[in-house]
């Protein structure tokens, strides 16, 4: 589904945000991307759907090489990739319904303004998705009247409008309080598994990731320092231990063992 091959990204100001990263994500896997802030998680996510272009290396998603796409091809590719942002990316003045409806823009031609400019079929879908994330009663409320957790649920509903095969979530719960963090992440992974999506979700709390993901990849200074499969029984402490201790060489070893 996703294949990353020696991907690097250096920003114009000289920062090397992603440094020679390679790994594959098989279909249906829920992958947690761990790392401190500034470790290159967000940049890597944005390289995956072409919001950034890599300095070197390639990403192949759904059989398409992302960095060789024309702008039009990129738009077509992005329709199949849902993206959930840390800052939600909602327009506060618009209702939840309209914020969800814009998720369908990739399938539509031309600009849309106002709920009534979307077809009834799409509106009904938007309602279903809002219902699924538990916000059916807030459909016509303005997005800026919601709590953080509710906003992120609207954002999840927006990406469901795309019927994505792949879901990228960039720190989806980093701006939320601990309780809503658990709720939102629970919702996100449950929906992803129900709809058989492939997920890459970046997080900076190991405890949240363990038990909800199939595999954890750790980044430090733009390099992969950890790559391990997880189950519900995995001990967060052992992961933390690995993340702190491992140098790049050891990680390559574990990787080779697991994916030989």
């Amino acid at each position: 589904m996703i294949s990353i091959a020696s991907l690097s990204k250096r920003f114009p100001n000289g920062t090397l945000a992603v440094d020679n990263v390679s790994f594959d994500v098989p279909e249906g896997q829920v992958l947690g991307l761990l790392g401190l802030s500034g470790s290159g998680k967000s940049t890597l996510m944005r390289l995956l759907n072409g919001l950034h272009t890599p300095t070197s290396g390639h990403t192949t998603i759904l059989g398409t090489v992302v960095d060789q796409c024309s702008p039009a091809e990129l738009r077509v590719l992005r329709r199949d990739i849902g993206f959930v942002f840390q800052q939600f990316g909602l327009v506060g003045r618009m209702t939840c319904m309209e914020n969800v409806l814009v998720g369908a823009l990739g399938q539509l031609r031309g600009p849309r303004f106002g709920i009534r400019s979307y077809s009834k079929v799409l509106r009904r879908q938007a309602l279903e998705h809002l219902d699924r994330v538990g916000l059916a009663s807030q459909v016509f409320q303005r997005a800026d009247t919601l709590s953080g957790g509710q906003m992120q649920r609207v954002a999840i509903a927006r990406s469901l409008m795309q019927k994505p095969k792949i879901l990228l979530a960039d720190e989806p719960v980093a701006s939320l309080d601990p309780e809503s963090s658990v709720q939102v992440l629970e919702l996100l992974t449950r929906i992803a598994r129900e709809d058989k999506m492939t997920v890459v979700c970046s997080l900076h709390q190991v405890e949240l990731a363990v038990g909800r993901t199939d595999r954890l990849v750790g980044l430090r200074d733009g390099r992969v320092v950890l790559d391990t499969l997880t189950t519900a029984e995995t001990d967060p402490e052992s992961i933390m231990h690995l993340y702190r201790r491992t140098g790049a060489a050891e990680v390559v070893l574990t990787q080779e063992k697991e994916y030989a």
């Binding site: 990316g89 031309g110 009534r116 509106r123």
Partner: protein
Amino acid sequence: MTKSGETLPLAPKIDVSYISKIALVVTFFVLFLWSWVKIDMSIFGFFSDFQNVINLFGRMYPPDFAEISTVISAMVETLWIALLGTLGSVLLSYPLALLAASNTSPNRVLGAFSRGAITLSRAVPEIILAAIFVVAFGTGPFPGVLALALHSVGMVGRLFADALENADEAPREALMAVGSTKRQTIRSSLIPQALPSMIATVLFRFEINLRGSAVLGLVGAGGIGTIISESLETIQYRPALAAVTVLFVVILLTELASNAIRQSLIGTAANIGLQSQHTRLWARLKQRRDTQVLNDSLARRSIVQPWTSERLFRLGAMSLVTILILVAITTVDINWFQMLGNIDRVQIVLKQMVPPSFAGERSMLISGLVESVAISIVATTLGVMVALPVGVLMARNLNVRKWFSTLMRIIVLAVRGIPELIIAVIFVSAMGLGPVSGTLAMSIAVMVFGGKLFADSLEEVSPAPREALVSVGASRSQEFVSAVVPQFVPSFIAHLFYMFDVFFRSSTILGIVGGGGIGFLLISSIRVYEFQLTLTIIIAGFAIVLVIEWLGLIIKRLYR
């Protein structure tokens, strides 16, 4: 789908705010059409009108610089009027602002009184003040200086008071804790914090006053405006263009200079990484010298503040301004002793203004005001229609090609340099007297004024929803309509009413140059000493401004 989903409606309920928004749009269109008919605008007329303007420019070209020395001395006088007017407004505003700002005001009564004085000083356009002062003191630059000084207090005083109120309270508490007096705390904690913003305000006002002083000549208050209007009236088009060119260049140069000073004060220039090799070398030398100076004074344990490059720059700028002011005071054509001795003549004129009366011109007054309102509605609407795309092209965050936005900004800045009354003079001599010329001239001013406002708020739009829409595969136009436009609507409405306010005020003076509206009656009332009528017109105009501001407040609430 669950049951609860099925019973839910697919569109929001039609509520009061929805209906009022529709009603608002309809009302606006009706008003626009009514104004359009009222001032005899016609779409076909557009082409012949603009053809006439182009023809006029054809007859103006090439500019005739034969009388360049007269033009330059008039231009210098214009500069001095602007400089001295700004100085006067600072001298008046500083104490008023200290009295008005909530954190420095000695008591509430004085505070409210000074705030009222600051607001009222803006009520009368500077050129009308100048015309009144010309009656009191005779023609010449003095009435111009006085008019600019008084009118500018409305902006300078308010922004000074805002700067004081925005200052951080913590340093003030620290000073009070060491037992300093109230005056000491103000001087040592509030003023140092407010100073950069105050200087920026003064520079900005100086730019506005320069454009203002360029037209004061139309009412006999000195400067280059006299030359432009006289040569147009006597069909000497080519010397007129020469004068306009000189004015344009000088305004552009001062604007660039004051921009540079402002940047060095507020400090964005320091962070720009695109400096040329030359300036980088200069910066290195400067830094080396500064470290040396600082270390020296440390080694000698000097209690004299070291002469760092920043301090040298500040001293240099201050001495330059002081010298300019001294030169202005001594060389401008004003007999200061005589004029300041006659200052009580203002009082005589003021006494003749009360009580306000219609002086038998009630119907003229009403039709003039109605025409002014119609002019401002049509001019603002037409201008905004152009200003919106211009603003989009100027916004750096919306364009892939950054140089294009920069180019648009430069063009708009250049057109903004020409005072709107000068544009009106040119349009009137091209298309003839009447509200159509005035409206079209004003719509040009709206275009550039609005373009800048719109571009600035478009650049403040949050990028997060845009990124989200790019991620769902939306095209650029979809992203613009669904992520940028909804965020922009509230500031657009706010700007729209601000522009109605500004350009209604402008439309009341278009009549001075024959551009329609109440201005003709206003200036005539001054020229024939009907000061009671003058006051009536001023009060009525101010009432309309208040109504516009009140409407704006209500409608802004609708589009939060």
